[in-house]
């Protein structure tokens, strides 16, 4: 079993009348067990920058949907800046946790409560012709022939910015699943957005669909300045 430990030392000789010297070590285990955590992102380092202050954007560090909800996940973040006034503002979902000023670090548990991903199924049917098109999520399919299973395979073979596809060979249906958990108001939603241009009576109907719900605990950080700021982070998780 892997052993992962986190040790903190808090010390001060002049904050109190007596010396402050607190050291503790936690051996990180899965939720409710003595089994050590088994996964980590490894240590990452990234520099943020933007063209101007108005163009500063938050960075999504960890998407809850990618990790085990309610697990004993732990997040470490450090602001490596040496410029005193520069800070990263840390949020979980919409809630501001605090600011990491130059040199500051944090280590916290993370609940990773995710939402659900939208999903829908498209069925290719009726009479298609080579050259017919179907456009969705900014991607256009041009039918290579009139066989619906081939067209479905073509649709599956394309790359969509916000969706991934599942397809079984020789069938005429493709399942689209959103890449990220999100509510219908926040992503390009599917049911009415496919645009079909057919020379005959081909169809690409949505045969079933489920609206997603937004993630509730993505971790984001926002730099205070648009010039270069660098952070380090690691996620240790179940």
């Amino acid at each position: 079993m892997a052993t992962t430990t986190a040790t903190i030392t808090l010390s001060s000789t002049d904050l109190l009348s007596d010396e402050l010297a607190l050291t503790t070590t936690a051996t990180l285990t899965n939720a409710g067990t003595a089994t050590g955590v088994t996964q980590t992102t490894g240590l990452a380092r990234r520099t943020t920058s933007a063209a101007s202050a108005a163009a500063i954007q938050a960075v999504n560090l960890y998407r809850a949907g990618d990790y085990t909800a309610d697990g004993a996940n732990k997040v470490y973040i450090k602001n490596t800046s040496t410029t005193v006034a520069e800070f990263f503002t840390v949020h979980i979902d919409q809630e501001q946790i605090g600011r990491l000023y130059a040199g500051d670090w944090m280590f916290m548990p993370w609940v990773a409560t995710s939402g659900t991903k939208a999903v829908f199924t498209v069925t290719i049917a009726a009479t298609w012709a080579a050259g017919d098109t179907w456009e969705f999520d900014g991607v256009t399919l041009v039918a290579a022939n009139s066989t619906v299973a081939d067209i479905a395979a073509q649709i599956d073979g394309l790359n969509y910015p916000n969706w991934i596809t599942t397809y079984v060979a020789t069938e005429a249906t493709i399942i689209f699943t959103a890449r990220y958990a999100s509510s219908a108001s926040e992503v390009v939603y599917a049911t009415a957005d496919g645009t079909l241009n057919t020379a005959s009576n081909g169809t690409a109907n949505i045969s079933s669909a489920a609206v997603g719900s937004k993630s509730e605990s993505d971790i984001t950080i926002r730099p205070s300045v648009h010039t270069d700021m660098t952070y380090e982070t690691i996620l240790i998780h179940q």
Partner: protein, 137 residues
């Protein structure tokens, strides 16, 4: 000025190469290197199950560089405390786990709240801050 240092070391043999991450920071007031955090609250309490409690009784000044340390001293691995801020779930500290975060306390709703689960949890906390709004008696 008071000088308080917070240091962390993360070690693991999870990866092909051993991981050893260390960092140390001097807890300063917001936006300065000239003046350290000079006020502190410290507590060691048993937290019964059932209700959610604000960890800190009075609200520290918002938008500052407050730092919060919290440890679950329970030894039963099935016990944990759930931590929320403004109803936003942050995470769970299982027996032996600790956390150290910047705490913004952006307004009255920004208090850190904790709930014990599985039984009475013994916790220890320390808040380093720049000032608090005392509650009138």
């Amino acid at each position: 000025m008071a000088t308080t240092t917070a240091a962390v070391t993360l070690t693991s043999d999870l990866l092909s190469d051993n991981m050893s991450v260390s960092a140390s920071t001097t807890c300063m007031k917001a936006g300065t290197t000239a003046d350290g955090l000079d006020q502190m609250e410290y507590g060691y309490v048993d937290l019964p199950t059932g209700d959610e409690f604000d960890l800190v009784g009075a609200t520290p000044t918002a938008g500052k560089a407050s730092k919060l340390y919290l440890k679950n001293h329970s030894t039963d691995e099935t016990l944990f405390i759930a931590i929320t801020q403004n109803s936003q779930a942050i995470g769970k500290l299982f027996a032996g786990d600790w956390m150290f975060i910047p705490a913004d306390f952006h307004d009255a709703a920004g208090d850190i709240a904790i709930t014990a689960n599985g039984g009475t949890n013994r916790i220890c906390y320390a808040l380093f801050h720049e000032g608090i709004a005392l509650v009138a008696s």
